[in-house]
Symmetry: D2
Subunit: 166 residues, 4 copies
Amino acid sequence: MPIRVLVTGGTFDKNYNERTGQLYFKDTHVGEMLELGRSRIDVRIRTVMMVDSLEMTEADRTLIVQNCVKAPEERIVITHGTDTMTDTAAAVAAAVTGKTVVLTGAMIPYAFGSSDGLFNLGSALSFVQVLPAGVYIAMNGKCFPWDRVRKNRERSEFEEIPGPPE
Amino acid sequence: MPIRVLVTGGTFDKNYNERTGQLYFKDTHVGEMLELGRSRIDVRIRTVMMVDSLEMTEADRTLIVQNCVKAPEERIVITHGTDTMTDTAAAVAAAVTGKTVVLTGAMIPYAFGSSDGLFNLGSALSFVQVLPAGVYIAMNGKCFPWDRVRKNRERSEFEEIPGPPE
Amino acid sequence: MPIRVLVTGGTFDKNYNERTGQLYFKDTHVGEMLELGRSRIDVRIRTVMMVDSLEMTEADRTLIVQNCVKAPEERIVITHGTDTMTDTAAAVAAAVTGKTVVLTGAMIPYAFGSSDGLFNLGSALSFVQVLPAGVYIAMNGKCFPWDRVRKNRERSEFEEIPGPPE
Amino acid sequence: MPIRVLVTGGTFDKNYNERTGQLYFKDTHVGEMLELGRSRIDVRIRTVMMVDSLEMTEADRTLIVQNCVKAPEERIVITHGTDTMTDTAAAVAAAVTGKTVVLTGAMIPYAFGSSDGLFNLGSALSFVQVLPAGVYIAMNGKCFPWDRVRKNRERSEFEEIPGPPE
């Protein structure tokens, strides 16, 4: 059961540019992280873009959706900036059916020593293997259906949106 | 849905003793790892023992099984040395019903910079939330039913045992 | 022989702000680094400011110089951003006599796993203990008199300025 | 001014063997550490042996001394286990004249995330550049003449031996 990993950037993959003193994107760390985690999952990684999710355009989101649609794999993990992760999740949910798609990211860049990235990647890759078709966000050790979650910016964590009364 | 984490030691939790130059057990790193991973899962951690799994006795295994049976939680993660992880999994499977139990560990101590522990913990805590009742081993990004897995010592990884012909 | 450490900020001490995704200054890491290095040197740390050295004003430099002059210690290490380290070194050299002052910094923040900061701090604290009175810059494992060094921005390293023909 | 680095093993260079769960020696980390520290010092590294200093024989010490004597460089750093570092320092002092030799090591292996090794290496390489001919031990941020220092095993640090009354 191969898993497609679509890389889109986000805090997860930011590096420190020593010449400018700014954070920037170079290559993704996903391969290195899977090696560190000694993953033996059959994973195909594709870098779709490397952007800050606050700067992600509708065209970017369309490209991500297309990658989900066209991927032969039925299980997909998307690494993504946390700020607009739910927007992309909604776009994917509107267009993709019959596949399990899990979005994840990090609050601290993996290149920093104390990142949540490795924990989140282990989590997302596990949820994607067992959850039924649908679009989810895996953060903070939990997995939320895409339309039941929001980022709480003050607490820097993802939380459930209470459902409507039945 | 609270999750019980039973700590038993293993490579996962080994520390370096600077006086003797040997590896030894002090306290578990699980709490610190969950903080690093920014976990917001409702987790109750209990250190049952801190031993090398090669030195684990039948009495030790009985104690682990009892902890699984008595825990009010229906979802349990056990951190464990990799060498006899499948033995403990078998003992748990023989005695525990109606609960989802996932064993995990690490090939490299978490106290080392380059451990697979954080990835495995994220993975185990995710599988345990969604899998049906049963006993599993989560290593290398995969999750195996307890009776379909063995440690390949040469390759330092867990692999599936092929099932009988149907 | 107590050593004064004056903290002024710079890349050395930058942290990642998870809410804004920007680098910023919080507290200095010098104390933590000395603990990691198991330093038993008698060190008195004072945070004079926490600024990017590109944004350091003349008033800031005056304050650093005053701290050097007033310090009862005869041996002083200044942690500083690399971009204007030589400017501050010149200001100190113009005003301070009879003391050994060593400036150091880092190309990568210590909060990142792969920083040169710990190496540089060990280096600066060693040079300051044995060099005669004067102002120096300790970077890249070397120690340069303040008026014989420049930052090579292209190579991200400090290099000697050839002296005049004798 | 080239510096010779003689590698002899010790805690500094220990690795974790994931098959046996024991610490062992593979290759030295000195080159990697110098890269991390962005050292631009002219350094020639030679691995003389890779042993635990408690297991170092007289023949081993003789070999280290010979390497010091034969080295064309006048400035030498020796990485060494801490337990018998002073013994080797004494052997070197008895045979080597006209050279500055600094021994250093670590209490925690560099392969662990929280090692004092990088700090000590930066320190030793700095002291060796400026101290007069003689044999020294650089640990805990300090530099001791070889016959004025002992390891305090209880406190896991090096301390001065008080000199005789003059």
